[in-house]
């Protein structure tokens, strides 16, 4: 091979001797995840070439000479768009706050780079329908993968939403990665009382593909954000078809599929609304359930403090109670257990749990069944757990119970008060009755 160093973006001609004869390729050098030299040929195809003594490379044109701006790297810039003035002209104002979930992206077919788009202009460029629904203000709050989300960022997000509403937004749309969206939605549900819709949205199929659910979800979410809703919700595809989205209560929603559009499901509750989709924005319709809180029903308050030192432990057969003790010893202030069935752990855990509750560390029981309510009065183990001081998590998802416990512990350290608050339905997180017609997969 030639002495010359080959850089990404260079146009090169590669000659390679093979047992089948010499072969020549010409193309642009791409980033490579293996040891191979990856070329994008003029046909658009990428190929990998093993570079060894049979290979000769000629650089035809340096990347620097083409004057082209290349690679997705810098396009992934997080252009912060200025909040801007609110211009009221009859149209509702919707703030789209970005946390890293992408609802729009651009593909550079020349380099193959996919770059997420966050600025208002770029989002409107990709989904022009949004401008027909509302006056859109875009804002990047932070830009992280949803698996890297943490309680401190929930607080920051709640404050940003609070500020946007105070500045006059008629509705908030939060773009969020889907993995931990339900935790964030639950957190904002407890931290905020809102007179306007606060809607989380994301996409299960990446925004660069023509089939992405991002645009339809964003349109339905924006429509929901201009509706009569007055609480924190998640708006995502309702089925595998592009026909409607469900509006889920922020505390009842759970991601129930790793990849499908219809991953988001209201657990132990019916969705609080539905957005009927149409290609024609004027025909997109929002339907709210009776029990959905309405616009202006609550006035705006913010209480973003939470106790982060809480753990969620999943119990499995034979699990050593030392796992439980570990968190106690590490100074955790509250523990949620995802027990079996109606809410059980093995009998040898009970003394350890009793010790923790005696020390004022609340232990909340939820179920790994996900669907159905915890009930500790049915079997002996359950009754023993109650005697050991365990608080029943009702029909809350384990994740919602964890977020709620974090928030409650920031409000009080009195064990009885903690128990009372955990058993009290604050923002629709606890149901008193569950019907047969749960929305199942």
């Amino acid at each position: 091979m030639s002495e010359m160093e080959v850089l990404e973006g260079d146009r090169v001609k590669v000659r390679k001797r093979t047992p089948l004869g010499e072969v020549t390729y010409e193309g642009i050098v791409m980033p490579s995840s293996t040891d191979s030299l990856v070329l994008k040929l003029d046909s658009g195809y990428n190929i990998g070439i093993r570079v060894d003594e049979t290979v000769h490379i000629d650089v035809r044109q340096r990347a620097s000479e083409t004057g082209d701006e290349r690679t997705g790297e810098k396009e992934t810039s997080y252009k912060k768009s200025e909040p801007g003035e609110v211009i009221k002209e009859g149209k509702a104002v919707v703030s789209i706050l970005s946390t890293g979930g992408t609802i729009a992206s651009k593909v550079d077919y020349r380099t193959g780079a996919v770059s997420p788009q966050f600025s208002t202009a770029d989002i409107l460029d990709a989904i022009p329908e949004l401008a027909e629904i509302a006056e859109i203000r875009g804002r990047v709050v932070f830009s992280i993968l949803s698996e890297n989300m943490k309680p401190a960022l929930w607080r920051k997000l709640a404050c940003e939403v609070f500020d946007e509403i105070r500045r006059g937004a008629d509705g908030i749309v939060i773009t969020h990665g889907t993995d931990t969206m339900s935790y964030s939605a639950a957190a904002l549900s407890f931290m905020l009382r809102t007179p306007v819709p606060v809607v989380f949205v994301g996409s299960q199929r990446s925004a660069d593909r023509p089939s992405s659910d991002a645009a339809m979800n964003a349109i339905c979410a924006t429509k929901a954000a201009t509706s009569d809703l007055g609480e924190v919700a998640v708006v995502m595809h309702g089925s595998t078809s592009d026909d409607f989205c469900y509006i889920h209560r922020g505390t009842k929603v759970r991601k129930m599929h790793t990849s499908a559009r219809y991953a988001f499901v209201s657990v132990n509750a019916m969705p609080i609304g539905k957005v009927l989709y149409s290609q024609n924005v004027r025909d997109v319709r929002v339907m709210l359930a009776e029990d959905a809180r309405r616009r202006e029903e609550d006035s705006l308050t913010l209480d973003e403090n939470i106790e982060e030192r809480c753990a969620l432990i999943k119990f499995y057969p034979g699990e050593d109670p030392a796992v439980f003790d570990f968190f106690v010893e590490r100074g955790y202030r509250g523990i949620v257990i995802e027990g079996t069935g109606l809410g059980h752990v093995s009998a040898d855990w009970i003394p350890h749990i009793r010790r923790a509750t005696k020390d004022g560390i609340p232990v909340v029981m939820t179920s790994q069944c996900i669907f159905g309510s915890v009930c500790l009065r049915v079997y002996d183990t359950g009754r023993d757990l109650l005697h050991a001081g365990v608080i029943e998590g009702g029909d809350m998802t384990p994740e919602t119970a964890l977020v709620k416990l974090m928030w409650v512990l920031a409000q009080t350290s009195d064990y009885d008060e903690i128990r009372r608050m955990m058993r009290e339905n604050m923002v629709g997180e606890l149901g008193t009755r569950r019907t047969c017609s749960v929305q199942l997969l």
Partner: protein, 639 residues
């Protein structure tokens, strides 16, 4: 029309798509089987959005599709999974498919790439649920021999088959919605692209045939209708590059190339004529409904009486010019409109469709149009659709003044083509990051090289050499892609009546003739070995083979022996044959005297009428000759 292809500068390239016969699909574990749409377990509906490129440009073909704003409905089967529904990331590239692709590449003297990278090729006509087709370049730079010289093979890609359109032949299907069946989506296929080295229509067919034979040599490709498709890239010096999609039958290739050349020549003539006339396209669309208030045209009544028109100045008579056999230039414009679900009518063909001469006169008046002009009408009550359709039609009319537009066209069963969409732009691919690159190491190439199959060409030559078959028979039996022939030759040819030629004929011509008579013989289920064994033992004559095959096809549970009994073919004993021959000779002794040995021919016919299939004809002929000879000797002695 005789044409000088070289002078016209005809260049043809082929793009051949062949489905591979793998156990699983290219990126998921689903079987590669097709389903009946009645077996669908459910349907779902999707929309696709055109992705914008970084430069803000959208691919021409993509814009065209996006303009149509179609909903796509997909049929889901038990045999499909979330990958086909675009609800789950794809799995890794199917190794079996890659092996077959490499095998074909090596048979085509191509050089495999070191590392195969799967790409996403944007396709938003709904045929892929994701909005892109996954495709990977496997090898480049090969060649094949042909009667008219070497043809270079540029690339071989392995890619996923698209979903099957449902109701695709329904020209007037609702343009707002297109249905697809997911069973076919994801079946692996190879795409082989030749250089535009092909110079004549018959050459195109020959090259397609040769590549087809090489594909079938592997024994690992799917057979049957729809499993192989040819696309043609055709251009002439003064024309433009036109891509013709979906030629399913080889015999159509020549006609399609000829028709396309003729179409391009006609379009060039039309453009010259239009320029001479100073023709121009008026982009003013006028509602003409008032003219048709009392019309007797059903087309217009069905459209709620809504009619719109636009005027093509100087186009008078042009739309009526035939540019393909029985296809006028007006049909080209209609193709553009049809994409929006509406038809067109124009003054070159009116009065017709129940539209009266008086209505035509008033239409012309509305535009102040003379006989030199042409008014195009669209009847529809969907204003938006009318606007889009006119936009497309008027754009096409403008292109007519420049010559031949670059287009993607669809092959039709009669050898004509119809407009499909603009040529796609070159670069609309980006990496499929869900699928890791696959390294093709030298051991893999060597393993495939070692087990490379005998090509049909090589097999044919060997059959000629080893079994003395003639060219035609050797070609037919070599192309039949079954090793039955050689198996039977090895087990049944022991001299005598059963020869390789008889076996080859039986497996090719006899089966073809029976098929023509409407008898479908399932060769897999027939005990050919028994048939040929009995013939070689003189149990019955080879003439009985067609009757036996017919009987066995009608009675699937019967054996060869049953067929022989039922058909009364049980062989005559030798002495019975001799007695019969003797009787015939004696009863026609005068004829024998008169003709001598040449009486054998006619007498043979008389005897075979009775014994066909029961005795080998050769044996009868031998006995007859002996009997005639001895009869003549006796006559001679008597004198």
């Amino acid at each position: 029309m005789e044409m000088d292809w070289e002078e016209l500068g005809l260049k043809v390239g082929l793009e051949i798509h062949q489905q591979l016969d793998t156990r699983k699909k290219l990126f998921c574990g689903c079987p590669t089987v097709l389903c009946e749409k009645e077996d669908a377990v459910f349907k779902f509906k999707r929309y696709l959005r055109a992705a914008k490129s970084e430069l803000g440009e959208v691919d021409a073909a993509a814009i065209e599709e996006a303009k149509k704003r179609r909903a796509f409905v997909y049929y889901v089967y038990e045999s499909t999974c979330l990958v086909e529904s675009d609800e789950e990331p794809p799995g890794e590239l199917n190794d079996e498919a890659l092996d077959i692709a490499l095998e074909v590449a090596l048979l085509l003297h191509m050089k495999p790439v070191d590392e195969v990278h799967t790409m996403r090729k944007i396709v938003i006509d709904g045929s892929n649920t994701s909005g892109f087709q996954r495709t990977a370049l496997v090898a480049t730079d090969g060649w094949i021999e042909s009667d008219e010289g070497t043809v270079r093979i540029d690339t071989l890609c392995v890619e996923e088959e698209a979903a099957q359109r449902i109701g695709e032949h329904d020209q007037h299907s609702d343009a707002d919605m297109q249905e697809y069946s997911l069973d076919r989506l994801g079946i692996p296929l190879v795409e082989i692209t030749t250089s535009p080295d092909i110079k004549t229509p018959s050459h195109a067919r020959e090259v397609a045939e040769r590549i087809g034979m090489i594909l079938r040599s592997t024994g690992k490709v799917k057979r049957g209708i729809g499993t192989i498709r040819q696309d043609l890239n055709i251009s002439i010096s003064r024309g433009a590059r036109v891509e013709i999609k979906g030629v399913q039958e080889l015999r159509l290739i020549e006609r399609i190339v000829e028709n396309e050349v003729r179409r391009q020549l006609m379009l060039i003539e039309i453009s010259e004529e239009l320029r001479r006339r100073n023709a121009r396209v008026e982009r003013r669309i006028v509602e003409l409904s008032h003219i048709f208030r009392d019309t007797s045209s059903n087309v217009i009544k069905r459209a709620g009486g809504k009619v719109f028109g636009a005027c093509l100045r100087g186009f008078g008579g042009i739309l009526g010019i035939e540019i393909q056999p029985e296809r006028r230039f007006g049909a080209e414009l209609a193709d553009y409109a049809r994409r929006y679900g509406v038809g067109i009518m124009h003054t070159d063909e009116l009065p017709a469709y129940g539209i009266s001469a008086d209505e035509v006169r008033r239409v012309r008046e509305a535009f102040n149009a003379s006989e030199d002009d042409c008014v195009v009408l669209i009847a529809s009550d969907d204003i938006e659709r009318v606007e889009r359709a006119f936009d497309a039609v008027l754009n096409r009319a403008e292109l007519a003044m420049r010559g031949v537009p670059e287009e993607t066209r669809r092959a039709m069963p009669d050898g004509n083509t119809a407009y499909m969409r603009p040529l796609p732009g070159a670069a609309r691919m980006y990496p499929e990051t869900d699928v890791p690159p696959v390294s093709v190491d030298e051991e893999r190439i060597e393993r495939i090289l070692r087990s490379l199959p005998e090509t049909i060409e090589q097999k044919k030559e060997r059959y000629k050499r080893e079994y003395g078959l003639n060219e035609e028979l050797a070609r037919k039996i070599a192309a039949s892609s079954s090793d039955l022939f050689e198996k039977l030759v090895k087990s049944c040819c022991r001299g005598g009546a059963v020869t390789p030629k008889l076996i080859a004929r039986t497996l090719t011509d006899t089966l073809t003739e029976l098929a023509r008579e409407g008898v479908a013989v399932d060769a897999e289920r027939i005990d050919f070995e028994e048939i040929f064994r009995m013939i070689s033992e003189n149990a019955f004559g080879k003439e009985a083979i067609p009757d036996i095959l017919k009987f066995l096809s009608a009675h699937p549970d019967a054996g060869v022996d049953d067929a022989v009994n039922a058909l009364g073919l049980r062989a005559m004993r030798l002495e019975d044959v001799e007695r019969l021959v003797d009787e015939v000779v004696q009863s026609r002794i005068d004829f024998v005297r008169e003709r001598g040995m040449s009486a054998a021919g006619p007498l043979m016919g008389v005897i075979m009428k009775d014994v066909r299939g029961k005795v080998d004809g050769k044996l009868v002929s031998d006995i007859l000759r002996k009997k005639i000879a001895s009869a003549l000797v006796m006559e001679h002695d008597r004198r």
